[in-house]
Symmetry: C2
Subunit: 237 residues, 2 copies
């Protein structure tokens, strides 16, 4: 299955991360030549959408993509899916600060070949690139083969509830300091319908109260804590 590279031909890497600091400083470590297997970074991008269009317009296709999970557009998940569908032989490595099991599981279902923490030595990432290109998978303490096998016998929706459009919209409104009556107006519907969707969310997400919904939304990346207007809670300026 995996496209094995001939030794001494470089593994071509594409690298997406929203922090320029990481993008720039990582390259020399990935391209270190202390082994017989060279690695070359042929393109970088600051998010998944950029990465995909860069790959599309590049005559040279990368063998391995390294990407971060950028919140909250879930770029990571949809980017992985798109890469796996468009270029089935391309390998995908996730390099991120998030170690939440929910993200790891969703990434496995999206089809990644490895998941690495930013709390690793840069050399480890280089090794992961080589390993994933050689064997088609990179395992570590975050993703072990056992876990992957146990996940493959299940369906994604057992782990990752599929939310309807209305449920998703309500979930996003739930984090705002408003009553359901107010949210109903914003969603152009009645408080009773909101109740229905909320009950469905309770059931699907295993929450008992609105607090549970809010924390679900936050923990699973439906909220961008960096640019959300919750900063208005401070009366700055």
């Amino acid at each position: 299955m995996p496209t094995v590279n001939e030794t001494n031909k470089p593994i071509l890497v594409a690298f997406a991360d929203d922090h320029e600091l990481i993008r720039v400083t990582m390259i020399p470590y990935l391209e270190t030549n202390d082994e017989f297997q060279p690695v070359k970074v042929i393109l970088t991008a600051s998010n998944g959408v950029e990465l995909i269009s860069a790959i599309k317009s590049s005559p040279q296709k990368p063998h391995v993509c390294i990407l971060d999970i950028k919140m909250p557009e879930m770029d990571g998940f949809s980017t992985v899916r798109e890469i796996r569908e468009t270029w089935p032989n391309m390998k995908v490595l996730i390099l991120t600060a998030y170690s939440r099991s929910t993200f790891i599981i969703r990434m496995i279902f999206a089809g990644v070949h490895g998941y690495i923490s930013k709390n690793s030595h840069p050399q480890t990432i280089r090794e992961a690139v080589i390993e994933v290109q050689r064997t088609g998978i990179y395992c570590n303490d975050l993703i072990s083969q056992k876990e992957i096998r146990s996940l493959q016998t299940h369906k994604e929706k057992e782990f990752v509830p599929k939310l309807s459009e209305a449920e998703l919209e309500l979930l996003k409104y739930c984090i705002e300091d408003r009553t359901y009556k107010e949210i109903a107006v914003l969603m152009k519907t009645t408080a009773k319908s909101i109740e229905g969707h909320r009950n469905k969310l309770f059931q699907k997400l295993g929450a008992k109260s609105r607090t549970g919904l809010v924390m679900y939304a936050v923990v699973n990346g439906y909220v961008d804590l960096e640019d959300h207007n919750y900063q208005k809670l401070f009366k700055i300026q």
Copy 2:
């Protein structure tokens, strides 16, 4: 006021970040010798507590400390305060992925000399080190001199509400999917007292409902989204 280093004597830097990737890859960029002013990283640590004990046991003291904001113990804030009190001439630069104004403001009040986003080029951080050692302050789009001056005419508590022990404890329980009655049992008090503290929190934080309290706790780093047991919301395993 600032201790100016003689040219060609290296600026000594201590560097704390919870990701090994950043620690390792940054060093060569900080130590680049493309200018007349050399910079030398004399110690690194993975969090603020480690950093301070490393400085204490080091015969050579750094001129500049670079640190991340590690959540949720607020290490960043207390680390900065401790450094500023123990070594008043030492400069402190924050290097972080968080650009929330609440964090920036709290860091200014804690006494930092500069605040840099991880979405900067590594060369910028080297420049910031040199600038902060030369002038005592590093300004950019996140911290401008105008903002600092406007902040200096105010008191911290106008921006950053001071919470009592009970209020802080309640705030942390608020993010859990429990009723106030249950929280009262956990806090070994009555539901009526909880009500009192909650009302005080509403007033201090400008929230209208528990949802507002939950979001305040999340946005301001009272919750560690990485290791909190809110992952139990998934029925994994």
